[in-house]
């Protein structure tokens, strides 16, 4: 990293020799437009919108009217450039503002932008500098409006944005589920003073109160009492102090508790009360701690009084007093718990520092109507919570050689994402089965597992672009980036919200994309699809000869055997790498004999003896044998029974999962061989719909809106979820309002053991909602 620290943070000058690491900060500036800036007391937040050119692997069917020869692939893979939109947010210290503006000026090429939206107390101070450097007109926006707009945006679009802070719990951060309905809520912004805002709708908010005792009081009074100048240092002092030396406690007055009122002896009766009655020296640490308690308790008390008066239960805290400081999050949480007796929880936000910049940006982007898109946090380009430790002082930072900046990047998805309409309770739905933030053992294992698999992924990425010599270098960069992410997550599992197997997988996909490896498995998928297609008719015929009961079992077993072919599972990819002949039959032999680890097959077969389902929604998993020899024969039987089938597949590539565009071509080919599939397609009894995701896992609260419509229109009454990623790591406990099958082969011995089985154990979970739940 080519930079040196050592800038003087006190003044707004900086070391001119600083060179910014352009690969890492202010990325994609060439096409940047719509700038916004939020300048606070010590930090500047810059926002801009850019377009990112990505390579994406496209598949296109060959023209099969020409005579086919064996060994010809059935579709063509071509790498194309695709342009997607991305939001960039960068946070850095005010001392670097001039360096940063110069950098932006030098790198901004194709912009038509004329204005920059600005907010925050410092916007005024730096107005001339910005206008001179960037030749953009500074357009000031109201601070509070920006704050609220930004808050609405992150609450709606970023999963696990809000969290509860619990200092002494196993995991300090408990992330909240994204609520579809975020209003009404209360935002308490603790800057120099305190503002209390009630937000009732997107554009409806009101400042219902405030207090002059805020961060400025802690800082100002703290500086007077302790002769310590910096806010961070004051907090550090406070974290080492004992407030009981300075405060008068209930027990100092009563000798114990004030029992009849339920006031415990340790309660503070009078802040700084001891310094009024005892003539002694008090330590800086103790005074800072006492001050911190005094201010936090006071703010907490007012917050509770306002929450009660306005009947609000969701209370978010922000402002520089809170900003990532565990000390203040703890004291505020304590205060809220005390004053509401646990009825209201203090909530904090992962991207709290960005709210003003996000809001100012959105003010400038209103004509783009950002609400018509969905947004996704890009884990590759975002720093994560506490990336810049507030406890690190500038000298330590300079020594560590890091330029202290923090980034957030959001990718725009050109579709709206919605809940699966068949979720029993969308508000309590949690996609992930295990929260690795809380489960330390599981976290340890999975982090190790992903690190172990990294070599293989790098190799695969290089192999997928043999024709491009610089792919090796890019793959190495990918390795470094992802390894760094894994290391960060080892120490800060809370960095991107709850750590889950899904988030680890998604982070890997984001990092691969970042270095232009859009689809490392494209050629493998192609090869495996080709091979599996050759066996399709054979499999279908052999099944047709069986009795009804035998056939159902063979189909179920085939589905499970197909699911063994998963490059995402290390145990399997090792086998597939070493033994290319490993086939469908071998896979069947690997499967666990019944009774399976989770075995509801008997109930399923009983159900099949009844009337056919109206419509089955099938979330498919791997390409090749899985989809062609496992899934298709299975759904073929459903179609014959008179059940409509919707195959939901990924919109974009992830591992060897079949994508929607691949599935289109495969289905076409199968239809050409198989009159049952052909008829079903023609009569629209078989539909192929993309799920809106590019993840090996499945979040049923973020599905393509089109899919949700199809599901509703067809009266779907059966949901089948297949594979480890979609049915075990996620959705294992998902409660649906219709019948469901969750099927997977556990291709990981650690996980199998945890569930009480061995590798290649089978999960065959069939669930029927109770009548009472169905009516919901």
């Amino acid at each position: 990293m080519a930079l040196c620290g050592g800038a003087d943070r006190g003044s707004h000058s900086m070391d001119k020799s600083i060179t910014l690491p352009p690969d890492e900060i202010f990325r994609n500036l060439e096409n940047a437009k719509r700038f916004a800036i939020d300048i606070g007391g010590s930090l500047t937040k810059l926002a801009y919108y850019s377009t990112v050119q990505h390579q994406v692997a496209k598949v296109r069917s060959f023209d099969h009217s020409a005579k086919e020869t064996d060994g010809d692939p059935l579709y063509e893979i071509s790498v194309q450039e695709e342009i997607t939109a991305r939001l960039h947010f960068i946070k850095f210290e005010n001392a670097y503002i001039e360096t940063c503006l110069d950098f932006i000026k030098d790198h901004l090429v194709n912009t038509e932008t004329k204005v920059i939206k600005a907010t925050g107390g410092g916007a005024h101070k730096f107005k001339d500098l910005i206008e001179k450097k960037l030749k953009l007109k500074v357009d000031k926006e109201d601070e509070m409006t920006c704050l609220i707009k930004g808050c609405n945006f992150v609450l709606k679009n970023i999963p696990h944005e809000a969290f509860v802070y619990a200092k002494h719990a196993d995991s300090e951060f408990r992330f909240q589920n994204t609520h579809p309905d975020i209003f009404p809520y209360m935002l308490i912004n603790i800057g120099s003073g305190v503002s209390i805002v009630k937000v009732e709708a997107e554009d409806k908010f009101e400042r219902i109160g405030g207090s002059s005792i805020g961060g400025g009081t802690f800082w100002g009074l703290g500086a007077l009492l302790t002769k310590t100048k910096r806010f961070d240092e004051l907090l550090q002092l406070a974290s080492k102090g004992q407030h009981t030396n300075v405060d008068m406690l209930v027990k100092d007055i009563y000798g114990g508790a004030y029992g009849s009122l339920g006031l415990t002896g340790d309660l503070i009766a009078s802040s700084f009360g001891k310094s009024a009655t005892t003539d002694k020296e008090f330590s800086k640490e103790d005074m800072a701690k006492s001050l911190l308690h005094m201010i936090s308790n006071d703010i907490g008390q007012l917050a509770c009084l306002y929450a009660k008066l306005h009947n609000l239960t969701r209370v978010y805290f922000g402002g520089f007093f809170i900003r990532g400081h565990p000390v203040t999050m703890h004291t505020i949480t304590y205060s809220i718990n005390f004053f509401t007796k646990g009825e209201v929880q203090a909530l904090f936000l992962r991207h709290e520092g960005y709210l003003g910049a996000i809001g100012a940006f959105l003010k400038g982007a209103e004509e783009d109507n950002p609400n018509q898109y969905s947004w996704e946090e890009n884990y590759a380009g975002s720093s994560g919570l506490m990336s810049v430790s507030p406890e690190l002082n500038p000298v330590q930072r300079a020594r560590s050689g890091t330029f202290p900046f923090d980034m957030l990047e959001m990718d725009r998805l050109e579709r709206q994402l919605v809940n699966l309409p068949l979720l029993q309770d969308a508000t309590s739905y949690i996609p992930d089965t295990v929260d690795l933030t809380e489960d330390a053992l599981a976290r340890e294992y999975w982090l190790y597992c992903f690190e172990e698999a990294l070599d293989g992924v790098v190799k695969r990425a290089i192999a997928s672009q043999k024709d491009q010599p610089e792919a090796v270098e890019r793959a190495e960069k990918f390795r470094q980036k992802y390894r760094h992410k894994l290391q960060t997550l080892r120490h800060q599992p809370f960095a991107y919200g709850s750590l889950t197997v899904r988030s680890l997988l998604d982070t890997r996909e984001h990092c691969l994309n970042e270095f232009n490896f859009p689809d490392p498995y494209s050629k493998i998928k192609q090869k495996e699809n080709d091979m599996a297609l050759k066996y399709y008719l054979k499999v279908v015929k052999s099944v047709e000869e069986l009795s009804w009961e035998q056939r159902q079992f063979t189909l179920a077993k085939g589905l499970l055997a197909g699911n063994v072919f998963d490059w995402g599972a290390k145990a399997v990819s090792d086998v597939l790498e070493s033994d290319p002949e490993f086939g469908f039959e071998q896979a069947k032999q690997q499967l666990q004999e019944r009774p399976w680890l989770v075995d509801a097959y008997n109930q399923w077969i009983e159900r099949l003896k009844g009337p056919p389902h109206k419509c089955a929604l099938f979330f498919v998993d791997n390409s090749g044998i899985d989809i062609i020899l496992g899934v298709f024969p299975f759904i073929r039987e459903l179609l014959i029974r008179g059940t409509e089938v919707v195959l939901a597949s990924n919109s974009g590539p992830a591992l060897n999962d079949v994508t929607n565009s691949e599935l289109q071509i495969l289905t076409e080919r199968i239809a050409a061989m198989d009159p049952v599939i052909h008829a079903a397609l023609r009569e629209d009894r078989l539909a192929l719909v993309q799920n809106g995701s590019s993840s090996p896992c499945l979040d049923l609260s973020r599905l393509d809106k089109v899919l949700a419509t199809v599901i509703r229109e067809r009266g779907t009454d059966l949901v089948i979820i297949e594979g480890m990623g979609r049915a075990i790591h996620t959705n294992y406990y998902a409660m649906l309002s219709c019948e469901s099958l969750k099927l997977a082969v556990i291709k990981n011995s650690w996980l199998a053991e945890r569930l009480g089985g061995k590798i290649f154990s089978v999960v065959f979970k069939y669930e029927v909602p109770s009548k009472a739940q169905e009516q919901h």
Binding site: M144, S211, L225, D252, S270, L302, L305
Partner: protein
């Protein structure tokens, strides 16, 4: 007695209708104590009798006499107990009614040091009883209950008597070392709504640390001389004037001590300014919490008591102003002359009938 965190409040009833016979029978120790209390206005270095609060010709338990109001710092309690031992308090065959936290904390000391048995009473029960009693017996002289008329206009602001005949419901805010806020619905129906640790003790404690003063009177004198607007950051310091969008006037404090984050400003303020800012911060905060409680409890009348308000017109006017301004005239701040003594009076009234 009311033994608080900072001050001990002592109320003494001196019968004036003592007959010659009674006087004959009286033990010497009682006479000596009465003489000591009534002939002095100061006791030792720190004990004070608030002569201006004395109530004469009261009828209590069928006796006519004067009620005296005495206070001394809680840390002088051991000296008080030694004096009680020397003056043979324990020979009086009387019960000492005590309330406040100290009644519990020092109960053993009373017994071992002065051979005195305490009748311990709840401080909030006593507080309310004391308020109602004093209001009912004061009929002549300066009014017990008063308010400030035109609190938002310094030119016309003046003290006026207030008729508290029909007092309920009432928000009673007791500002001692800390603050308790009570909602009182009738003579014996009340609840403690909340409290805050930012009270008189905080004002004095911070002033001692910031200015090196050591007494409440000193701190208050400095505050009277000082100017808080150079210490605090006002709305107009940030917005250049009013923050109209949210109806915040430019003179409102945006951040208490907010200007003190800057070294140049820290170096230019006086001790008096710091004392004033401390007083304004604590007072406004009490006003703000009180207003929220009044809204939540739906009570419009607020009575402030407690020794923080003693000779502290600055805070009383500030509270009157704040309540009136932020409630748009809905809330009224009331004050009582015997501000800090109600707990002690309430305790006295619990004395088992001495006749």
């Amino acid at each position: 007695m009311d033994i608080g965190g900072t001050l001990v409040k002592l109320v003494y009833f001196e019968p004036k209708d003592i007959t010659a016979e009674e006087e004959q029978e009286e033990v010497e120790s009682l006479k000596s104590i009465r003489r000591y209390l009534t002939s002095h206005t100061a006791y030792g270095k720190t004990g004070i009798r608030d002569v201006h609060l004395e109530l004469s010709d009261l009828i209590l338990w069928g006796r006519k006499g004067n009620l005296h109001f005495i206070r001394f710092p809680t840390h002088e309690l051991p000296a008080f107990l030694l004096m009680g031992r020397d003056k043979h308090f324990s020979s009086l065959h009387t019960t000492l009614c005590a309330t406040g936290g100290g009644a519990f904390k020092y109960e053993d000391d009373f017994r071992t040091m002065a051979n005195l048995q305490l009748l311990k009473l709840d401080e909030l029960d006593c507080l309310i009883k004391g308020v109602m009693y004093i209001y009912s017996v004061v009929s002549s002289g300066p009014p017990e209950c008063y308010y400030f008329e035109h609190p938002t206009d310094p030119e016309r602001c003046e003290q006026k008597a207030y008729n508290l005949e029909d007092p309920y419901p009432l928000l009673l805010v007791n500002i001692g070392s800390g603050v308790s806020i009570l909602a009182v619905y009738s003579k014996d129906n009340y609840k403690r709504v909340t409290g805050t640790s930012l009270g008189g003790g905080t004002f004095l404690g911070l002033c001692c640390l910031l200015t090196g003063c050591s007494t409440f009177e000193e701190a208050l004198a400095m505050a009277t001389e000082g100017e808080s607007t150079c210490v605090d950051k006002l709305v107009r310091d940030i917005y250049g004037g009013d923050y109209e969008r949210f109806g915040l006037p430019g003179w409102a404090v945006a951040s208490s001590f907010g200007n003190m984050i800057c070294k140049e400003k820290r170096d230019s303020v006086s001790k008096e300014d710091l004392a004033r800012a401390t007083l304004v911060t604590i007072t406004n905060n009490i006003g703000s919490i009180t207003r929220m409680c009044a809204l939540n409890e739906n009570i419009e009348r607020v009575v402030f008591v407690g020794n923080f308000l003693r000779v502290n017109t600055l805070s009383m006017k500030l509270l009157s102003y704040a309540l009136d301004y932020w409630s748009k005239g809905q809330l009224k701040a009331l004050f009582l002359r015997h501000e800090g003594y109600f707990g002690a009076v309430g305790a006295l009234l619990e004395l088992p009938n001495p006749s």
